[in-house]
Symmetry: D2
Subunit: 109 residues, 4 copies
């Protein structure tokens, strides 16, 4: 498999896990009010990562477009998460930015 | 297509929409604290309904098991939603119970 | 819900079912050789329709992009399916073109 | 994260990729006739693995049931794949059996 594609897959796998973990942890936080957008984006980002994971490993004309969308939502989710001090948010932001980078590298290759 | 299976598909389609709508609306509610479990179950139920929608229309050995799981999570999500007075929760509860019934009828047929 | 969005959802629901039905039926055809691309596209199109179904009913910044991708793959799948005389291929082509139209109307609105 | 759950996630990730790769490669094989069931099971198994990947990383009452179903379909897909001499089938069989083992270990823990 193409090296840049392998990086996308591994990064989306990590990012999906980080987003799902952050989603659960946010819902258990004491001050829930400020986590609304984080919860929403965690779900959206996890779902797109899951989709890319499924599509990346097979032929198809939409792979580039899906990876590009994935980069966009990872960037948005990372921007939201990095504003919160919780460990799960900081870890999620890191995974999101790594994934956004991998997606951009693949699309621009 | 089998009549009971068609009912499952239509019910999961309605239920998935109701759960996603309730998920969004819950995240916009003023008193978020009491909606934690509702948000979590809305997502889980929507995801399983989506899975059943995809699997119901094609051959496969897991259809019955997935429909059975779907009935279980719809029942749980409906029980949670019916406790909240918001219109979106009441509508979601109704869609969940209808779907749980359709799933049970199919599995027990 | 927005009228054009409701049309997208109903059309993707029908299209996903037609594609999954065509996928199964193609795999049971006697002359399998000429159905290769049809089988591959049926799966890809069903998966994107399923994704759009899940995303259309909730808030999110990617809805337009996903509906646009869905229109592209539905058009491609319809073009492939309409070349085959099997009833399931002709029905799938019809559902694909209807869905492609609904997606374009939504994106261009 | 629980060690046995981590094994399930890594195994489903590998298995999903192997199944999607086998699906594509089967559709390009010269003698397609004998690959019908392999193609169908590759898709079903990849879809369930994808579902488990998404559900394993978050709380929820269905995780055990989904992992159990995943073990069942991985076993079935592995049995089918191991009958074919193609490298992609043999590799897929191996990934399927590894994943079936991981699922059983988790469910029986």
């Amino acid at each position: 498999m193409d090296e840049k594609l392998k990086k996308v897959m591994d990064a989306t796998y990590e990012c999906m896990q980080a987003c799902n973990n952050c989603f659960d942890a946010c819902l258990n936080e004491e001050h829930l009010d400020m986590m609304r957008e984080c919860i929403r984006l965690d779900r959206e980002c996890a779902d797109i990562c899951q989709m890319v994971l499924s599509f990346s490993g097979r032929e198809g004309s939409l792979r580039n477009d899906l990876v590009s969308l994935c980069g966009t939502i990872c960037q948005a989710c990372g921007k939201e998460c990095e504003q919160h001090d919780h460990d799960h948010c900081q870890e999620c932001a890191k995974a999101c930015f790594t994934c956004a980078d991998a997606c951009r590298s693949f699309v621009n290759a």
